[in-house]
Amino acid sequence: MILYLLFATFIGLLYHGIHRKAIARVQGRPGPPIWQEILHTLKFSFKETWIPKTASQSLFIAVVFVAIGIWSAALYVLLSGGSLLLLFGIYLLHKIVEHGMGLSSGSPYGKFGAIRSVISAASELPLLVTIVAVYFFTHSLSIADIVAYQEVHGPLLIVAFPAAVAMYLVILSKMHYGPFSIIEAKEIVSGNMTEHFGVWRAGLQVGFALKTYVLLYAFVLLFIGQLPFVLMLLVMLLILISLSFVCAVTPMLSPYDTVTVQSLVTGALVIYIIILGVIMG
């Protein structure tokens, strides 16, 4: 499992690099090399590190370990075919990491990032809709059962397409440089990550790399099914590049527009769920 964690971290960081490269190429810039995020993480690991005088020290450090811990747990849940509800729980707990990261430093920029993180809570609701839709078809929230269902009945991507779109939006809302990336907008420096630098930033990079890997893996597993490993990585990469295109051509929304768009999408998906409930009894 430890080896797999290292592998997932490496691939997650590589995907972040490819994401940046793809955005740059779409926008007509050369962009950084695709291994840039791996180099960043290594560089941060050896930079001088300290804790701001105004910070709540224990929390400031703990959120970094919590970030790595929850996404390592999420990866384990995915690989062991555990509960989709648990994966949803972990995804929501990431909000506490984002929030704690910003609140703990005492910095106003961090705090604004933290507040934006909580007001964009609407981004989590599409995932709940996804779970309900998947449950309607499979009558189970066990990931192993969902994969087995698709082996018999075909990919859920076809029969539950709106749910797949909801999950796609969930991943998009967590991508760097995306339309919903308001928590790390440049007008508030780096938002909730502003004061985390050095080893702490490297730790966060590791946690976020695991998050990207888990979310992309979960999308493929839930809506396409179990694929051979190399093919799985390739499909994940294709989804990532499609997300990069969206990020490249969409400007960052204002915080309230973000909430509005996410709420409208959630409302549309709730209507879908109600229709699904009526049709499927």
């Binding site: 005088k53 105004t54 910070a55 709540s56 020290q57 224990s58 929390l59 703990a62 919590v66 929850i70 747990a73 849940v77 555990g82 509960s83 509800l85 648990l86 949803f88 729980g89 972990i90 929501l92 707990l93 909000k95 506490i96 929030h99 704690g100 609140l103 703990s104 430093s105 005492g106 910095s107 106003p108 705090k111 604004f112 507040i115 909580v118 007001i119 809570a121 709940l128 449950y135 009558h139 189970s140 929230l141 066990s142 059962d145």
Partner: protein, 222 residues
């Protein structure tokens, strides 16, 4: 001896904790939520609060807000109480106990915010108090409807096939939890930027989120 009827939702129970006829359970799902609540409760115990930096409007001056010892002690007490109530709510195997813990979370959340001697923050705390108080009606009402319609409040019985829980009771439970977990209301107002104090303030959000996650499991399972 025990067999959780909804193993395909939050996973099979790993461990049960019996208090007479009330049987709390740790499934992979509830155990994960419990551990998360425990981590942040321990953090509330061991941490000193942040000192929020404020920039003077229209100028370059800035200063760090100090947290007095008295304020820190009271907030820490409330944050720990909030953590303990959350821990209880995470593993409760009884709907009535869950609602009790949820209302205790609401009370302690108000306590954390109301500790500040700032007129704006106190006004906000008063409003959250009203929301939390109103939310107890659907919260306990939901539990009462469940008891009246099924004859039990034990989740072990309610999660079994063939036990029909009215959808209005489920809706009331969710509505009650949303009112008790006041994080979305709190953060949508400006008061959070006036009130310093991570990790104690963070407990408001931790408890709200965990309550929401637990009630989702309960409602889906019933």
């Amino acid at each position: 001896m025990f067999n959780l009827p909804t193993g395909n939702i939050g996973g099979q129970e790993l461990f049960v904790l019996e208090f007479g006829d009330i049987v709390n359970y740790f499934s992979p799902y509830t155990a994960a939520l419990f551990v998360f609540a425990l981590i942040f409760t321990v953090l509330a115990i061991v941490s000193r609060p942040e000192r929020q930096v404020d920039i003077a409007f229209g100028g370059d001056a800035y200063g760090a807000k100090e947290v007095s010892i008295d304020l820190m002690r009271f907030q820490r007490f409330m944050a720990i109480a909030c953590g303990l109530a959350t821990l209880g709510a995470m593993v409760s195997g009884d709907v009535f106990n869950f609602t009790l813990f949820a209302s205790l979370v609401g009370i302690t959340n108000i306590g954390i915010v109301a500790a500040y001697r700032n007129r704006h923050v106190l006004n906000a705390a008063f409003q959250y108090g009203i929301v939390a108080m109103l939310a107890t009606v659907p919260l306990f009402g939901g539990a009462a409807i469940i008891l009246a319609s099924t004859g039990t409040l034990s989740m072990w019985e309610l999660f079994a096939d063939g036990v029909a829980v009215p959808i209005i009771a489920k809706a009331f439970l969710v509505l009650g939890v949303m009112g008790e977990g006041m994080a979305p209301f709190y953060v949508a107002k400006a008061e959070i930027t006036r009130a310093q104090g991570a990790p104690f303030i963070l407990m408001v959000h931790v408890s709200s989120l965990l309550l929401f996650l637990r009630v989702i499991e309960i409602v889906i399972s019933m």
